[in-house]
């Protein structure tokens, strides 16, 4: 498998890779927050992105989805180059993200939060908006789909409450459900399980797995290694803005560079060097 990817990468776009980033760099003042030489997310797989706090994971999400502009770099999603593409077009292409700090639409109801996410609504065109005949049927279908999703995320009972009245964990759930409402081909979830109670976490994991079974590719950030072990097909480890290791969950947890990155500052100095050699070595393989 790894050989096939490497050779295909040299030849051109690989159909097995849905998202691929090369040399994406972002500096804040003099501080380099993200400096990723290469990152590939495989189609139909669950990829976990892990790394200590401040590693640059959320910043990378922002860059890849157009919410922030990198200083340099190229990335392709499903055959489209995304550099310079604004966020709403990224989402329309099928790559939808959630936010680490949830962004629910507080004064809209939970159901409206869901319905707004449905793609290609005729009723969002100004000329069609006054004529409910033009969009009423579609609205019914969207409502049915929204309620099915809400039921899966145990939020159906809250559907008429304003989203601002939800608890922190419920907001996480709503945001994930809402992202799915866009009918994405790939979802990028920034710590979807943070603040969700353990029982629900288990069922969330089930959802993520079922997403994969539906053919959706998943990239998610998570700090809890047990979760990562349980569901991820592939794990990418970031530290200090760089990708320092990739592989299966088992492989990366045994990687000493990863261990030292998590242990923190003390090993920070030589981490940079080893990270460079690591990614170089991997590419050559």
């Amino acid at each position: 498998m790894p050989e096939r990817i490497a050779s295909a990468a040299a030849a051109g776009p690989d159909p097995a890779v849905i998202l691929r980033a090369d040399n994406v760099r972002r500096r804040f003042g003099g501080f380099t927050a993200v400096d990723v030489d290469r990152l590939a997310v495989r189609r139909g797989e669950i990829t976990a992105l892990i790394g200590p706090n401040g590693a640059g994971k959320s910043t990378l999400f922002n860059l890849l989805t157009g919410f922030d502009r990198p200083d340099a770099g190229q990335w392709m999603f499903d055959g489209h180059s995304l550099a310079g593409v604004p966020p709403h077009k990224v989402a329309r292409l099928g790559m939808v993200r959630t936010f680490q700090l949830t962004r629910v639409l507080a004064r809209l109801t939970v159901l409206e939060n869901m319905r707004i996410a449905a793609p290609g609504q005729l009723g969002e065109r100004l000329w069609a908006a006054p004529f409910s005949l033009a969009w009423r049927r579609r609205e019914k279908e969207n409502t049915a789909r929204a309620r099915a999703l809400l039921a899966r995320f145990l939020l159906d009972g809250k559907r008429d409450e304003p989203a601002g009245a939800l608890s922190g964990g419920q907001r996480k759930l709503l945001e994930m459900a809402r992202a799915l409402m866009v009918e994405p081909r790939m979802v990028m979830l920034d710590e979807p399980m943070a603040g969700v109670n353990p029982a629900l976490k288990q069922s969330l994991l089930g959802h993520i797995v079922s997403l994969r079974d539906d053919g959706v590719s998943v990239l998610f950030v998570e700090h809890d290694m047990d979760m990562v072990h349980e569901i991820s097909d592939h794990v990418v480890v970031m530290a200090q803005g760089r990708v320092i290791a990739q592989g299966t969950a088992r492989e990366v947890t045994q990687d000493e560079r990863v261990v030292s990155a998590y242990l923190g500052e003390r090993f920070g100095g030589d981490l940079e060097e080893s990270a460079t050699t690591s990614s170089g070595g991997r590419d050559g393989r």
């Binding site: 809209l108 319905r115 996410a117 009245a165």
Partner: protein, 322 residues
């Protein structure tokens, strides 16, 4: 009693009607989409001037002149929106307040042979008044005013229904969502910039309708009709009646004008006569106008601090926002 009836009459006057249209426009922009437009007077001005120049200088028929006025207001929306709607909300506020002021100066000083300076353009409502079905004063309103009031309030009804019809569906939902959190809406694949642009333009169009009502009501347009005071009053009316509600601007306009007239009447009575209740060294009848404006300002500030949802609004709904 006299004060009360004249307050009631002021609440439904021509002025109340055109201010109400301006407020409905602002409601689309600020109430629903969260865009801060401090230059609604500018939208009324370009509408009214477009219409007046079209009728008088270009000799266009009535409907074509109206069309020209509407076109001008959309153009103003584009010019102000294009550079600012991608940026922080402050920039739209700054650009609109500046543009409205510059427009007023422009109409007052440039192309004097077209705009006639501060005297303004007049003499274009003969055709409109010719269609006036009223020939007797009624409730103390003059026939010409009755006709303008009918058209003005008729427009208020039509526009309110239109705004209701676009706000209840998916388009209005995106607008309200933008007011809540732009980034979230972007992440769901909506072109926020385009929606804001549409909201700004629609609000401006409705403002231009207000401009037509002023123009027809006075049979003239003058730059000083469109000073910052207008924008400010519209803003206060909207907050008073409740932003992001269909009836908000209507209630706001009626209550505001009735209240303003009431205060004016009371102050008038207190400062009138040989030995007025309020001594002349403190305040004379000529200062009523400014005192009323001070009160309007105080009302807006207090509303924004304590009841941003308006006098009849639902407190809980606003609290969620904070």
């Amino acid at each position: 009693m006299d004060i009360l009836t004249s307050a009631l009459r002021a609440g439904f006057s021509v002025d109340a009607a055109y201010f109400c249209l301006a407020a409905i426009g602002l409601n689309v922009q600020f109430g629903y989409a969260g865009l801060i437009n401090f230059g609604q007077a500018g939208f009324l001005a370009v509408g009214a001037y477009g219409f007046a120049v079209g009728s008088v200088s270009l000799g266009l028929p009535f409907s074509a002149a109206i069309g020209l006025g509407l076109l001008c207001s959309v153009a103003l929306g584009l010019v102000l929106g294009l550079p600012t709607l991608r940026l922080r909300a402050d920039y739209l506020a700054i650009a609109t307040i500046a543009a409205a002021e510059v427009l007023r100066l422009f109409f007052g000083a440039a192309f004097q042979d077209v705009f006639h300076g501060r005297d303004g353009i007049s003499g274009f409502s003969a055709a409109f008044q010719a269609a006036n079905p009223f020939d007797h004063p009624f409730l103390g309103y003059r026939p010409s005013d009755l006709w303008v009031m009918t058209v003005g309030w008729g427009l208020v009804v039509i526009v309110s229904v239109f705004v209701w019809s676009i706000m209840r569906g998916p388009w209005g939902r995106v607008l309200k969502a933008i007011r809540e959190d732009e980034e979230a809406v972007r992440s769901l694949g909506k072109n926020v910039y385009a929606f804001k642009m549409q909201a700004l333009a629609i609000g401006g169009l409705i403002g231009a309708l207000g401009g037509f009502v002023v123009a027809l009501g006075q049979n003239s347009v003058q730059p000083d009709n469109f000073s910052f005071d207008l924008t400010f009053i519209v803003c206060t009316m909207l907050v008073l009646g409740g932003a992001a509600r269909i009836m908000g601007p209507v209630i706001g306009a009626v209550v505001f004008w009735a209240f303003l007239s009431l205060v004016g009447g009371v102050l008038d009575a207190l400062t009138a006569g040989q030995d007025p209740t309020i001594p002349a060294w403190l305040m004379t009848g000529d200062q009523i106008g400014t005192i009323r404006f001070v009160l309007v300002g105080v009302a807006l500030v207090l509303l924004m601090i304590y009841r941003p949802q308006g006098i009849f609004g639902n407190r809980k709904e606003m609290a969620l926002h904070a």
